[in-house]
Each structure stands twice: as C-alpha cells, then as structure tokens.
Amino acid sequence: MNPKKQEVAERTRQIVAPWKGARGGTIPVLQEVQKAFGFLPEEALMEISRELKIPPSELYGVATFYAQFHLKPRGRHIVRVCRGTACHVRGSLAILDKIKTVLDVEENGTTDDLRYTLEPVACLGACGLAPVMMVDDETHGRLTPDKVMEILGSYE
C-alpha cells in the first residue's frame, strides 16, 4: 500500500472506531469520511467494510443510493442550484443553464481546475427567496443570471 492510501486507511479507522459494535453506524461513518476527504475513496470503503464487518457490496449499495455520497473527487466549492417548484416557476432553469455555459460543466460535474462542482438539488427550503442557490454553506437568493456570475467569482 502506498503512503497516501495508508493515510486514508488510518484516518478512516479513527472515524470508524466509536461505531464498532454499535448499530446504525454506516451512514454517519460515510458522512464523516466524506467530510474528511471530500469524497469516498475506495481504500476508505474497504477499510469501513473490514472494521464494521459489512460486505463491500452492501456499502457500495448504500453509498450509491444517497445523493449526498460521491465516489469521485469534487471541486473546492459546491454550487447547489435549487430546482424546487418555487424556484422553477421563478426561473431557476435559466440560472442553471447560465452556470453550465459559463463554467463549461455538466450537471453533477466538476470543473477541470477543481474549483467548482455543480449540483442541481431538489429544494433548499428557502422558497421565499426564489430562485436560490447555495455555494458551500451560504445561501444566495433572488438570483438573476447576471448576479450568479458575480457571486461565483467571489469563491476562489
């Protein structure tokens, strides 16, 4: 195993430790691991499987079922464009299209410089400010296609 993989395995073991022998740890552990690495590296999944005695197939099943988990590296900033009803009727599709064109990135794709990952999401629950997007943990509302580019530019 190369040193980097060892590091991943080591960190994963620390995260798993409190959940050994406990019930219902799969999703919290996956969430923690993803927080640590930004995605779920294969080595980490194998380590969780060994430590929690869950078959890799089952872990893979869980990791691919939920929208939150990613098996590939992601951008430094996660751009979540709300595609909820309220945003839809107030023009969120135009916002999404604008970002796709300008960043040259597909839905759920990452820019080549790993700066942004674009994710359409079902609803951010900030319908009063439609159309809305979230960049990392910050919510931006009452968007127009022009405003969007200005906002994105402020995230290095």
């Binding site: 799969t26 999703i27 969430q31 939920y66 839809h88 009063g128 400010l129 910050e138």
Partner: protein
C-alpha cells in the same frame, strides 16, 4: 434579571440570513453600544417570522413594529429615530400592495392578521438558542403536567380528543396512531421525528426546527411518555445545517436542565434523543424507508403490515410523526384537547402551516385554521399575484399533490375537500401559478422529480413514472398525439393503484389533476403545436420586430450561439434553425423589439 425598555428582534432564519440579516445584527449591536443603549435595549436573534420575501426582518417591541428588507445602512436611522426619539421609521414599514398603507403594528399586516399561530407561536418571537426563553413562554409546562398529573393513557385520550391528524401528509389521526403503539408488545419502543422535509416548495419544518426546536422536542417527549418509549430519533435532512445545529444546542440545554435524560422531573420517565442526518433521498420521508435509513441501509420502503407501531426501528414498536405534528402536541396537552378541537372544520381540527410560494406577492409561512379558503390565503395573506398577472392555479401538496384551478379558490382547505378535488394536504406546500406558467411543464417538472427519486424497488413506480415522463416529453416537444392523453391517464391510474409506498401512489397526482382541470392546455400542445403560456421551448420561437429594432446589435453580441445577423443599416434577424431559445436576446434588448411567438 436585567430590565430592558425595548427589544429588537432580528430574524436569523435561513431566508433572512441569506438576505443579509447577520450583518444587520452586527451593525445594530455596534450602533447600540456606540450610542450607549446596550444596557436598556435588548438585541435578540430569533427564528423565522415567516415573511421571508420581506427579509431581513427586524421587529421592535413594545411597539411591535416590523421593518422590512433592512440593510446595514438603515441601522443608524432605526436607532436614532425609533429607539432614541420614539418615532417609527415610516419608509421601512410594511406597505400594503393595494392601498399603499404603511402598517405600524406587525399584527395588522394582512399577512399576519388572518393567521392563527399555534405550531409557530414562538417562531420569530424567542431566541431559539436559549431554553429560558422557551420556558418563559410556558415551555415544558405540558411535559410537567403530563408527568405529574396524567397517566400515559390520559395523554393519548387528550390527543384523540383534539382531533390532531398527521401533518406530514397522511392525515392519520395522531392519537389513534399512538394508541396502536402503546398497545404493541415490546420491551423497547421508539419515537421518531420525521424531519426529512423533501417536498420542493415546503419549508415549514425547517422554520419550526430553526425557530422553536424545543417545541418539537417537548412534543416527542410527550409522545414517548404516552406510548412507553424511552428513546427517540430526529431524522433531519443534511441540507438543513442550521436546523441541525439548533437541535443539537436545544438537546444539550435540555440535558443540562435535566429535561432530557434519566428520571425526568423526578418521575420514573427517562428519555434519550439522537439526531440522524439524512443523506439526500426523497423516499426517506416515507416512514419505512426512513427507518431503513436510520439503520444504515438503503432507504427503501417495505410493505405494510407489519406496521411500524408493531415492528419498526430495529424490529421494535415505533411511532413516527412529522415535525409540525409534534410541535402541536405541547399546546394540546397544556390547553386541553377540547380547545384544539374547537378550531378548524368538522373532520380536520386545529391549524395547518402552509408554505406560500411561487408567483405571489408575499411569499412565506402562514398558519391558518383548517377550513380557511384558498382565496384568503393567496389573495389576503399572499397579497395577490406578482406583477398583477392573472391567477391560474395553485399547486398544493408538493410532488404528491395536485393543481387546483380558479373554481377551487373558495374551497375550504381541509383534508377531505382537498382529496375530493384530487389534490392532497401533503406537507402544506402551496405554490401559486400565474398565466405565464405552462401546466404541461409543471406536471413534467414534478414527474421528473418523482421519477428521479423513485427508489426503484417496485415496478409500477420505477417504470410507470418513466413512461409517463416520456409521453409528457413528447407532448411538450410538439410530437404528441391525441391518443397519448388516454394512455397517460391509464398509466397514471395504474401507478397510483399499484405502487408500494406513498411516493408512487401519489406521484401521478400532478398529472391527473392537470389533465382534469387544464386539459385544453395539453390539447393545444398536441393539436395546435402551441404552448399557450409560451414556456415549452420546442413550441415557441423568438422574433425581432424590424420596426422596433434600432440596430444596436446588443442581441447579436449576447447571443451564445451567434445566430443573430444584422448591422447598422439592416435590422437584426434571428436564424430560427440555429436558435437554442435561451431568451437572452429578449432580456438584453433595451427597446422591447424581441418577442416570443
């Protein structure tokens, strides 16, 4: 205790935070200190006031003045005028859209005056991070009453008397649900709060958790006491980081006060509460899928029976209720079930919180007695349609709900009447649709959502929604045939009838209701190849009026596909072959020469 002559409440709900309330709060803090008022004026962070459109919202008591869209630049004037000189800052008060009246007291704003806030009673009024403020508003009094003077069965009877029904969409009588679980055999029982608010267009659960987390916790404890559970879970969407933070804080504070833990208030009732973060799957709002997710599995529903009341989380009897349902419970125990039952209609008691959004002037959260008409909600509280456009429909109940038309505006909103009209109460999302929205597009939008979120376990939902979506795609791109409508309807009824869980059983509702009330729009797409609302891209084109064109070239410069040609001497023309119908030319033209046809 310190005495303050005035309280300044700054909303720190998600909506107002996004509109900039944290910097307004900081500016107020500095300004009050600078003017030496910080000892006599209290500055309080609150949860959501509900009128998110007007945020950031600042409310000042004792006057009860509500200031809208407050910016950092407004702060010195508010402090100087209101807090020093006792004069209202007129320009920041809410102005009624029709009569242009500046409303001095927030209670008199039409958005609030028709509301009856029971579940939301503390939202926007207290600091959710401070348990003392909740207790000062009679918080945990219901728990004390139950633990010291009531048997668990009496708690259930009280909830049954109240007529409370599940606010997450099902509408099942809460007391009856509790009784099933009470009677179930088991050494260990659980209560769960379903905070996986996934319906696009609904945010009442989010606001409740952010604005008054203790009400939900107290409700869960009353439920746990009633059914004999000693452990609970709150399953909350990871997309709601602030709600999770507030809940964690609230649980910790309740623990410090001995309100959560072992032998609460000296009784033999013990209760422990955990938070589980969802991982992004709409189907997890379905109770059996939610429990699978807590157990760390893929969130797929399983057939009932056995019902969760008998065999739920880890095989133990479990009671699941939604956030709003739990938040109603302390009020019912404190004031009595008969009091709650005196509000509402014959079969639907109490109040319901609606998330009013879409093409309406005042978007936000409203809590109204059951039986209030849609007209009251949309036109009185909502202040009518945005930009004076014509009302077309309300979409009620999210992706499981339906679209109701103008003839339903005087419908009293309760479980029965909505179901009769083909919609459902659902979680209470209420999206207003105007004449510029295409109903085929709306039903396609919802179906895309449910199709994507279908977990794939049962065939009718997985394949049926897919086929329905293909037909809708065909219609909206102008390739539909009249017989498609019949096939679409048959498929919809099949999916509704045969799906395993609530997701599939309700997914066809938007299609069925739009077919029922807006059939002529479908027919226009098929027969005339026209989209009456000018939304469906394949059926519209952009043209430049040569008379109005001033040959400025702005459209050509901004066109992403370079399909507009012209020069200083010839009016610009769009090449229809190449045009992708993005609408940029229409947006940028300063002379309104571009139009959709």
């Amino acid at each position: 205790m310190a005495f303050y002559r005035a309280h300044v409440l700054v909303c720190k709900g998600t909506g107002c935070t996004a509109s900039g309330s944290p910097s307004v709060y900081e500016a107020l803090k500095k300004e009050l200190e600078r003017r030496g008022l910080d000892q006599e004026v209290a500055l309080v962070e609150t949860g959501c006031h509900g009128m998110c459109e007007m945020g950031p919202i600042v409310v000042i008591y004792p006057e009860g003045s509500l200031y809208c869209r407050v910016t950092v630049d407004d702060v010195p004037e508010i402090v100087e005028e209101h807090l020093y000189k006792g004069r209202l800052v007129q320009r920041l008060l809410y102005t009624t859209p029709d009569t242009k009246f500046k409303v001095p007291h927030y209670r008199d704003i039409p958005f609030y005056s028709k509301q009856l806030r029971i579940a939301l009673r503390n939202c926007g009024y207290i600091n959710p991070d401070n348990i003392d403020e909740y207790i000062a508003r009679d918080g945990y009094e219901a728990l004390a009453k139950a633990l010291t003077t009531m048997k668990p069965e009496e708690v259930i009877t009280e909830v049954r008397t109240s007529g409370l029904r599940g606010r997450g969409g099902g509408g099942f009588p809460t007391g009856t649900k509790w009784e099933f679980c009470r009677k179930a055999q088991g050494d260990k029982k659980y209560v769960i709060c379903n905070a996986d608010e996934g319906d696009p267009g609904a945010f009442m659960d989010r606001s409740l958790l952010e604005g008054d987390p203790h009400a939900v916790i107290e409700g869960m404890m009353l439920g746990a006491y009633a059914i004999g559970a000693d452990e609970g879970y709150i399953y909350c969407r990871a997309e709601y980081p602030l709600a999770i933070k507030r809940l964690r804080g609230a649980i910790a504070q309740a623990g410090e006060y001995g309100l959560i833990g072992d032998n609460i208030m000296g009784s033999d009732f013990s209760f422990h509460l955990h938070i589980k973060e969802g991982a992004g799957a709409f189907v997890c709002g379905e109770e059996t899928a939610l429990m699978a997710s807590i157990q760390g599995e893929r969130g797929m529903p399983y057939p009932r029976p056995p019902f969760p009341a008998n065999k739920g989380l880890w095989g133990k009897p479990t009671n699941i209720n939604n956030v709003e349902t739990w938040a109603n419970v302390p009020n019912i125990i404190r004031n009595g079930g008969a009091w709650y039952a005196s509000i509402g209609t014959e079969k639907s008691k109490g109040t319901k919180v609606f998330a009013l959004t879409g093409k309406v002037n005042n978007t936000g959260l409203v809590e109204v007695p059951m039986g209030t008409t849609l007209r009251d909600i949309v036109f009185d509280m909502g202040g009518g349609i945005l930009n004076n456009r014509k009302f077309k429909a309300v979409q009620i109940g999210g992706p499981s709900g339906g679209c109701l038309a103008e003839q339903h505006l005087d419908l009293p909103v309760d479980y029965e009447s909505l179901t009769a009209a083909g919609a459902i109460m659902g979680s209470g999302g209420l999206v207003v649709i105007d004449e510029d929205t295409c109903m085929v597009d709306v039903s396609k939008f919802f179906l895309e959502f449910t199709q994507r979120e279908s977990c794939g376990k049962c065939v009718p939902c997985r394949e049926g929604t897919k086929q329905m979506l293909l037909i809708l795609d065909k219609i909206s791109s102008g390739k539909g045939r009249m017989e498609d409508l019949k096939i679409l309807e048959d498929l919809a009824l099949m999916v509704k009838e045969m799906s395993l869980c609530g997701l599939g059983q309700t997914a066809p509702n938007p299609v069925l209701t739009t077919l029922r009330y807006f059939r002529e729009e479908y027919e226009a797409h098929i027969r005339d190849k026209k989209c009456p609302a000018m939304v469906c891209k394949a059926l519209i084109s952009y043209v430049i009026d040569p008379e109005k064109c001033r040959k400025c070239g702005l459209c050509a410069k901004n066109c992403p596909v370079n399909c507009i040609a012209g020069d200083r001497n010839t009016p610009y023309v769009i090449d229809q072959e190449k045009c992708i119908k993005c609408g940029t030319c229409l947006e940028v033209c300063p002379f309104q020469a571009v139009s959709k046809v």
